[in-house]
């Protein structure tokens, strides 16, 4: 089960990677194609972890399984 701390870690790392690659592409340090590939792979991680972080106060970051 993912706990709040690991979710925070995922959110921060993915956010930093996205901002860095974006800035790198603007400054010409990273090729735009490489920046695009990294963005495509990392955006889902960022959005899901930020979302789980928003909801973490309810379950302390756990994703429980529930039946019907």
């Amino acid at each position: 089960m993912m706990k709040r701390l690991s979710i925070q870690l995922f959110a921060i790392i993915s956010g930093v990677i996205l901002v860095t690659t974006s800035a790198g592409a603007h400054l010409g340090i990273i090729a735009p194609s490489l920046s695009a590939v990294i963005t495509i792979l990392i955006v889902p991680v960022l959005l899901i972890s930020v979302g789980l972080l928003f909801a973490a106060r309810l379950t302390d970051g756990d994703i429980p399984f529930m039946g019907y």
């Binding site: 996205l18 901002v19 690659t21 974006s22 592409a25 735009p32 194609s33 920046s35 695009a36 963005t39 495509i40 792979l41 955006v43 889902p44 991680v45 959005l47 899901i48 930020v50 979302g51 789980l52 928003f54 909801a55 309810l58 379950t59 994703i63 429980p64 399984f65 529930m66 039946g67 019907y68």
Partner: protein, 280 residues
């Protein structure tokens, strides 16, 4: 690039809100505020999130990540002016995501939504005729080449009007509350995505907002040409409002009727393409 993606998601969700508002006004209802879909997405992100016991865990979570990744990739292709074929390949992959979302949870409601999605796969047919006609006229499927063609020869909208109609139908088939949106019909709660809620629904809302923005912006780039961002955004808005009018005034078609309408449209455009390619 992340700043453009977040702006596009915001714009897409705002367009969804405007869509709901226009439909409501046409039908004589006050409707929700236009920022309702943005609030909806934020609300879902803060809701309790769980995975149904009957779900296939990997697919259930994976399709959510794929759906957002898919449209981020499509957005990147659009911004780079890359191949239209790649853009539409990603569009077709979205259909597989729909199936995955519906089949992953194990719920009969979502399974039925996914089956409807499989049955209405003909919604991709007009795409084929649209791409073929654009290629026939411009000689290229690179978006930057198509834009360059339009700088010299004027907008493609009139010479490729059947292709524009086909793409318009394709976009209509992916818009909420549209005549071809039986996969989200309310008698199945929310169709194929009924069992995805909390964070999963929030991220999917963001992905679908991005999808709407990408498809509408692609339409403007392909058929109007390079007009600058402010004018392009205005045209995207007008396009969205026109789609909302169509959605407000038409009933939701059964899968069989959807397939019939889309197949007939494709056949008519195919006839026009054959005429252009062979006789003109």
């Amino acid at each position: 690039m992340i700043e453009y993606i977040l702006a596009a998601i915001f714009a897409g969700l705002l367009l969804h809100g405007i869509h709901r508002k226009v439909i409501a006004r046409v039908q004589g209802r006050p409707g929700p505020p236009i920022w309702q879909e943005i609030l909806h997405t934020l609300k879902f992100l803060a809701k309790e999130t769980w995975i149904p016991k009957t779900a296939s865990q990997g697919v259930y979570v994976g399709v959510v990540a794929i759906s957002i990744g898919l449209w981020v990739a499509a957005f990147a292709l659009l911004m780079a002016g890359e191949s239209l074929l790649l853009l539409f390949a990603l569009y077709v992959l979205h259909k597989i995501v729909e199936h995955g979302i519906g089949l992953a949870s194990g719920s009969p409601y979502t399974k039925f939504g996914a089956i409807r999605s499989v049955v209405s796969a003909a919604s991709e047919l007009p795409l084929l005729s649209s791409v073929a006609l654009i290629y026939l006229i411009t000689g290229s499927l690179m978006i930057r080449d198509i834009e360059a063609y339009q700088v010299i020869n004027g907008p493609l909208l009139l010479p490729a009007l059947p292709a524009a109609i086909a793409l318009y139908m394709v976009i209509l088939s992916k818009i909420h509350y549209g005549p071809f949106s039986i996969v989200e019909a309310k008698e199945l709660v929310s169709g194929y995505w009924t069992e995805h809620f909390g964070v999963w629904r929030g991220v999917m809302n963001a992905a679908f907002g991005l999808k709407t923005f990408v498809l509408l912006y692609a339409f403007v780039m392909i058929f109007i040409g390079p007009v600058g961002v402010p004018v392009a955004l205005l045209l995207v808005l007008l396009l969205m409002v026109s789609l909302s009018f169509v959605c407000a005034a038409t009933p939701m078609l059964a899968p069989y009727d959807s397939v019939t309408v889309q197949t007939i449209t494709t056949a008519m455009i195919a006839g026009y393409i054959i005429y252009l390619g062979v006789f003109a």
